[in-house]
Subunit: 342 residues, 2 copies
DNA sequence: CTGTTAGCGCCTTCAA
DNA sequence: TTGAAGGCGCTAACAG
């Protein structure tokens, strides 16, 4: 083991006290420039670096945030969404010198244990939840402990108490459906991910609103749900194809599902957008490179990350947030999957 | 601020000393069952939880590992590969009570600073690098400090000194190419990601070996490289289509690129596998749901994660590793993108 | 089997 | 502008 250089060594080397060295590190204003220079030089020479653990212990803060992913047992993690939020979070954290402690639990159980450990062990200053589900014991726990946390997405309960960063998914659903309608589509179907996800619900709600406004009847059999990724929306397509009056357009709640839907459609000899139009959400990297390129709602995933990072850091610093609900604007990216009106 | 329950409080409440309490936490064998019970009860009642920071400080270890992603500026992060390794790492870490500190740097510069902070600040016990590139100052730094680290992938230099977890990509390249040859293909092209990535190089090497063994000439103009994700292999395809003698099969170094290649091929009126066969690597979720489903080499990404986790933890515990190079086996998943010999 | 004592490396009053 | 002293919460000898 190589000698560890501590604050004391610097003190000794420069002939001043540990507290002075500490103040130089903090760049305290009432230390003379001369001593600062001297101390800094010694730190260089001896290769000093502050021990973060020791500092964290005394300041009672770690400047690290626990980021909780959905249970990683399922494949939903392969959704580029998460990498992208993480990137957004990271970019802001970096400039604020915060770190990400990533949760790794495979089950709800495991995740809960981890959060408990992080929080009770005072290993993190705050938590970002990258998902939102009903009856989440983690949320209850965090609320009860009054521990700083923010949700990316929309909480199902306590909407007005929990800080969350979200899109206006209802409006997004409405916008994209309206676009389909504008282009002459009338029999519009909806394929959503897991029915209990709030995103799905909101987007579907918007879809229905748009139909109503255009005086198009909302048909129950036109709305389908499929596991977020599983079998890529295959069953959904099969159901649709069984319908008597087949839709001429589909709103799909996630680009990833769209990929599966398109494959399946093709298998049945239907071409997008010639035979049926398709519009979805998220605008992940894939949306652009597959054939046909997806017309999709860009929800600014990266920005969702950045804003959640800003929010949690503010909370950790005990700054007040002006609002609990932070909305990231969306906009439609027009590509090839929608047949246009001539 | 609510009262923080410390070890001393438990000591006071139970009438024993802090060290006894500490020993109960560690489940030390020479504490009587009676005291253990008593202490544990008090911990329950007062809601005690060990402060991890304090413990870390004294034991000089954090049980957390810094995991470094590639510079997140580019889109390569959207490759599901990373989510999947992370999942593998997490699963093993969880059972060993280790945590992941995720690096978030957007540039090489930023990443280096972060690693330096983690390492010098003794905030992590080890590092896992999720990529490998030439002249990486991070590797030099880690090596110089003699700090425990493992690379997922193959280091370009010091192969025999750096612990790394990798596939036998040369063999994988050879295997998949041989499969193409077996099925009657002769004019086989290679499309790789960034030419300076070791994976690319290795897979291409294997591709060439297979050709040679089958006495098929290796043509320079048949090997192309494209940015890992950028424009999804479009230019690559254009180049191929300009060739006088067009290939009847392509080996693509990443499933993600394949998606772009297929789109492009279709745009030019070529169908996979009828007109041209395609085989690639990684077997990500997508490979299965796109049309045609990809014949691809499954490299067991999850397992790469697990093994790198095992390795770094061993190193942190000063256990010797039997070998520096840990190979995860691969196997071919046969699907629809290759035209079979009748 | 248990208590006492000394730190881990740092920051922060308080006093000079 | 600086130093001395105490403590953050925990563990690990060393005693007994």
């Amino acid at each position: 083991m190589i000698k560890i250089v501590t604050i004391k060594d610097i003190a000794k080397a420069t002939g001043c006290s540990p507290s002075t060295v500490s103040r130089v590190i903090a760049n305290n204003s009432r230390i003379s420039e001369k001593t600062k220079q001297k101390v800094r030089k010694a730190m260089q020479d001896l290769g000093y670096h502050p021990n973060l653990t020791a500092r964290n212990l005394v300041v009672q803060s770690t400047k690290t945030i626990g980021v909780i992913m959905p249970s990683s047992a399922d494949k939903s993690l392969q959704n580029p969404f998460f990498a992208e939020v993480l990137r957004g979070i990271g970019s802001y954290f970096h400039q604020e010198q915060f770190s990400i402690l990533l949760s790794t639990g495979q089950t709800e159980q495991e995740k809960f244990k981890e959060v408990e450990r992080m929080v009770l062990g005072k290993y993190v200053d705050g938590i970002i939840l990258l998902y939102s589900r009903l009856n989440d014991p983690i949320i209850d726990f965090l609320k009860e402990k009054d521990f700083p946390f923010v949700i990316v997405g929309k909480p199902l309960e306590y909407k007005n108490e929990i800080v969350h960063v979200d899109n206006d998914n209802i409006k997004a659903g409405k916008d994209i459906t309206a676009y389909l309608i504008e282009n002459g589509h009338r029999r519009i179907s909806f394929i959503g991910g897991a029915a209990d996800l709030v995103v799905t619900i909101d987007r579907q709600k918007g879809y229905e609103m748009a139909l109503k406004e255009a005086a198009i009847p909302v048909l129950k059999e036109y709305a389908l749900h499929t596991e977020f990724l599983k079998s890529g929306g295959r069953e959904a397509v099969e159901q649709i194809l069984k319908l008597e009056v087949k839709p001429d357009a589909i709103v799909v709640s996630d680009d990833l599902i769209s990929v599966g839907v398109i494959s399946m459609l093709e298998e049945y000899g239907l071409k997008v957008p010639e035979d049926i139009s398709l519009a979805s959400f998220n605008n992940i990297y894939f949306s652009e490179i597959i054939k046909p390129a997806l017309t999709t709602v860009d929800i600014q995933i990266y920005q969702l990350g950045v804003e959640s990072a800003k929010a949690i850091i503010k909370m950790c610093m005990n700054q007040k947030l002006t609002r609990k609900r932070i909305i990231i604007p969306h906009d439609i990216v027009y590509r090839e999957s929608v047949r246009l009106k001539k």
